[in-house]
Subunit: 345 residues, 2 copies
Amino acid sequence: MESTRDAPRVTIADVAREAGVSKGLVSFALNDRPGVSAETRARILQVAGTLGWTPSLRARSLSSKRSFALGLVIARDPEVLGSDPFFTSFIAGVETILAPEGLALVLSVVPDEPTELQTYRTLVTDGRVDGVFLSDLRRDDARIPCLAELGLPAVTLGRPDQPSPFPSVSIDDTDGVAESVRHLVELGHRRIAHVAGSPAMLHGGRRRDAFSAAMSAAGLGNGQIVETDFSIAAGADATRVLLSQPERPTAIVFASDPMAIAGIGVAQELGVSVPDQLSITGFDDIEFARYVYPALTTVGATPMVWGRTAATTLLGLIRTGSAADVELPAARLIIRGSASSPTSH
Amino acid sequence: MESTRDAPRVTIADVAREAGVSKGLVSFALNDRPGVSAETRARILQVAGTLGWTPSLRARSLSSKRSFALGLVIARDPEVLGSDPFFTSFIAGVETILAPEGLALVLSVVPDEPTELQTYRTLVTDGRVDGVFLSDLRRDDARIPCLAELGLPAVTLGRPDQPSPFPSVSIDDTDGVAESVRHLVELGHRRIAHVAGSPAMLHGGRRRDAFSAAMSAAGLGNGQIVETDFSIAAGADATRVLLSQPERPTAIVFASDPMAIAGIGVAQELGVSVPDQLSITGFDDIEFARYVYPALTTVGATPMVWGRTAATTLLGLIRTGSAADVELPAARLIIRGSASSPTSH
DNA sequence: TAGCCAACCTATACCGGTTTAGTCGCCGCC
DNA sequence: GGCGGCGACTAAACCGGTATAGGTTGGCTA
């Protein structure tokens, strides 16, 4: 047992002494900066290697005023959050970029917006992170001016509805909704309803508008729309409302998979057979979508790719001071079993 | 606009000067340590307040060799991870304790165990965290000796099957499984099967053993058991296997809700009506459990409480050097609609 | 051959806290 | 009245890096 136990940490000074150079030069070599001859640099790195030196993150943080960490603050009811696999996949994607760079992810889950803003402030005054991901964009989002004022680099997941100094990484989700509607129309549906997400959230409003537009384009008016807060419970309630009408829709386009799955549940409970009497489409393609019965026809998002791209963009912004907006490939409709031609009536 | 823009940071030296004392004394006052008269302490804190001084986390980290952060490393396929709401709730619970203390949570999602162990090492050499949560305990878990050797404080979620220097926070889940079996037996079931989790994971094996024990206790032998890796796909496959037997079970006890929900889907797909022809119980009480049809009879875990308790325990361990094991109230059966008396035949 | 610049490297002052080794005044006690 | 001891406080070292203002060298120009 090569007891590293209580072994005093190897510092930059040890490396400098051993290599016969000054601390400063070791630092230069480490951060491969000009002003070190190739030969010396190699020697320094070699000595560092044999000594097993790892620069102290803490010391580096203090003197360079960086923290080598990125932040993600999620403001949601944890119960609701749990059923949404978006973040776990997103985070996994982020990690694939951060880990090799030796960067960490600091995660906060907070109950509401005021706490969220406060969390960002603390993150900044503590210098806990070098940048943050801004997800679940809201209408007139208070976080954008807040972060801008704090001077914290950020990347928005989706394009904000207001002037924003931050690059955005977005995915076109309107196309998927339009595709869903077209698919249903082609199957022969005419009374198509939409269980929308929260209008306060950008993607909620966007998908709703895409639904309306697609309906108009098909010559079916605006289509009936029920707004929710994206929660499973609200999705279930909305479905109940739609199905208890005298002339109920033959198809429902849901703004998210969790709501769609709850919708299937409600339909079954009411004795409305899916897809025979009611076709259902979702959005996200969460893992459950493939395993409920009937398997959910839905629009496939790619949160892992999103995470990876957002991380790359944010790193670029931090390192170079600027980064371009990125538009990910549009989410596409995945046809499974929950939507079919409407039966007679 | 009181431009904090470019305002040089207020440091401990400013506070010291303003209060007419030395830096050291300010530090003492801040960390309320003896050796400061009540009067002086009050003055210092008052000055700090009016100056708006927040001690620099980075400087504190460097000199005190603490990082004011806790870590959670999750080793799972992100796809599988997504459908398990355990972690998001757990994390939310952890946050309720950390946030008020000004501590952060560093999260890592890694694909496999080697990477996981490497991540712990990096976390330690970087001094990124002051302690970690150890979840998803495995048989003969390599992480325990690894962390012990690294000298990193940790709390295990559940009791390990090996000598462990770390406190554990556990919840009795065997009771809930036993309750499920008893419930089914009382309903009149005799052919009860179990879709188990991974035997490599402690809770997988424990629930399976609890199932066997309960079956024996009911005089029903050991009961048929199919082992899985806890993934939804495996849960679906296992159900398919069970239901395609000549003499199929009239009830299945699943080791997790996601698998149980997949089980309901498979049953429906095969035209086996739930609960009439097949009763199903789950474990976890994830949010979806209430919204599928029929609503899932399951065992209610409380991940948020678990998170809160684990955080408290870990903090105690870090601050005092020792902490006692905690046993949370046992998870109880929640009766909904997915289990009923078996019909005739 | 002095002059100059570039390339390479050193010395040292930071970053902003914590911690330790004292200093000082004052009280109690023999 | 000298001494021990204690509480309050200061000065300075220290944590382990980064940044910057010089100092050498050597080659090239004028």
